[in-house]
Symmetry: C2
Subunit: 348 residues, 2 copies
Amino acid sequence: MSADLPKDRAPSIRDVARLAGVSHQTVSRVLNDHPSIRETTKARILQVMEELQYRPNQAARALSKGHSRTIGVLTASSAQYGPARSVAAIEDAARRQGYFVDTANLSVADPAAIEDALEHLLDQAVEGLVIIAPQERVFDVLERLDIAVPYVSLQSTGKHDLRELAADQILGAKMATRHLIDLGHREIVHLAGPQDWNEAEARMRGFLLEIDDADLMTHPPILGDWTADFGYFAGQELLRSRDFSAVFAANDEMALGLLHALHDARLSVPGDVSVVGFDDVPVASHSWPPLTTIHQDFDGIGRLAFATLLREMGTGVDVPTAPIAPRLVVRGSTGPVPVSRLPLLKRY
Amino acid sequence: MSADLPKDRAPSIRDVARLAGVSHQTVSRVLNDHPSIRETTKARILQVMEELQYRPNQAARALSKGHSRTIGVLTASSAQYGPARSVAAIEDAARRQGYFVDTANLSVADPAAIEDALEHLLDQAVEGLVIIAPQERVFDVLERLDIAVPYVSLQSTGKHDLRELAADQILGAKMATRHLIDLGHREIVHLAGPQDWNEAEARMRGFLLEIDDADLMTHPPILGDWTADFGYFAGQELLRSRDFSAVFAANDEMALGLLHALHDARLSVPGDVSVVGFDDVPVASHSWPPLTTIHQDFDGIGRLAFATLLREMGTGVDVPTAPIAPRLVVRGSTGPVPVSRLPLLKRY
DNA sequence: TGCTCGCATGTGCACGGTCACAATTGTGAG
DNA sequence: CTCACAATTGTGACCGTGCACATGCGAGCA
């Protein structure tokens, strides 16, 4: 029990074998829970492992077995609440299943950067990809590179089958719009996200569908960039011609910026203008007034993404999944259409 | 040029060698930029690689060379703006240097979960660790496990030398407090973060130091949990006894929750109460009123963390680093102390 | 011409696991 | 006690790459 440490290297399976007086293969069997091993042998080996602080070498295992047990996550703007939350959920779910997660974040989204990030992930021999940068350009690059591994996107590309999530976005947007219509609003403006994001496009589609259903007119949506700053400036712009009584913003940040602009203009929310956001970020309930918004279960979406990927990867493991439904959370930023805006002029 | 694909496996260095009519070692030399290779040979090999879509197997490389070129990032609450931002910056910097980043997120911070997450990272044979979960418990576990790899923390533990960042936190807190004192406030309350976070503790220390310097009294700080919800409830609590004219919140989220509570109570900010936050999250400039806060360069902190880790890991690479300074951003949530609160009572 | 030297390239093994297959031991029936 | 068969364990090759150590070859020099 004293001629333990042969080298300065980390102990290997053979070191354990030697000390336990068995062959390396027997040790390997312990590692892989092989059924036919004598209990006493197993116990002895486990004890030696403990003594040596043995830790299996994943690289060697990956090399030998031909898989890496690693998935890649490609994100854009991973500092935003929603994506960050989903990434955390994916990471958690993956770890639970013994998978490693390698991430690549896109700071800029030109094709070169996208390709660079994807190459980085593929270098790691990832077995699957989660795309949280649902921009068309990304899918273009994915197709061009002819990726060999399965991937899922947090939004539908129209080419894959994560439709639940896509329906989500559309449905959520419809719910938000419906809410405003139910309150009597007839002049509703949409502050949209960048249209190269499928997500933004889906929300806009939901909005337009609902507007159409109600036989209403609307301005062409304002195309924003998700940021509160943009919401603020868009608000200033909108206020030049006050021909609306409600705004549906494609995310909470823009909605909050918009609220700021409305405050600056001494307008009352919801007295003069109603505002709905999307996402339900944690501060949404503490703005002034608290923001009516569409709640998304980002954790659930992340888990679902990983579960779906696992299925796509054809592992035996099949984690049960439930579709994710958006939810309208009514707070203080929406109210009945102001009297001055009742559809009198439209009546005759 | 037709008997290309020998198997269904991914092409290996030997496949390339065979098609290029050289030995596998020569191919390896091309991969590693060995100086003595004839240009023509190199060109030929590169072309074959291109044809075969050859991609070096990182697992094999890791096994052979004995290193993984992977670093681990342990985070808590990675969905918060600051940490998320820093993680993205670390990932970006690491990728630039050819490193992979494996993350583990702590949803709960009990020792078992911490150990679990660390084990996961160590299983991947990470060569270094970045800790963004600066809770004492984490360091306890780190010491207990007797981790063999270097690690850096985004906050000082008092045992390592990332003092710049720690000084940052203290300095930032002092700046925030000083700002309030300069405006004439004498009754300042601190809404602190959870004290098992070194970060929160440092901010509180900065606050107390500055209070002490100015010979002021203060309540024992209220210990929060970083969330806007807590800020809201703390505000309600504080308002029972209105014996303060200013609040310094340890982060923006709590500050925003506090603003909400103040609005609910029909108090004016900064007319009745001044509020300072910490972090300068993107929505901070769009709250009502816009939040005065301490700006932190999260990207810079992330980059610095990776650069420091690289140095600790003893790689030749030494990325130049610059210390990170916090910055006071004065917006609308702070103003002169209200007349009703001038230190009359304290004068005699 | 013969020798040394340096560049360009090849040979064989190690890295730490797993797999396929062989070998050994143990068990119960005849 | 012997044999068939199952349970347990051992042997050697292989995964893809890099390293140490040849080897071949042409140039420079005596």
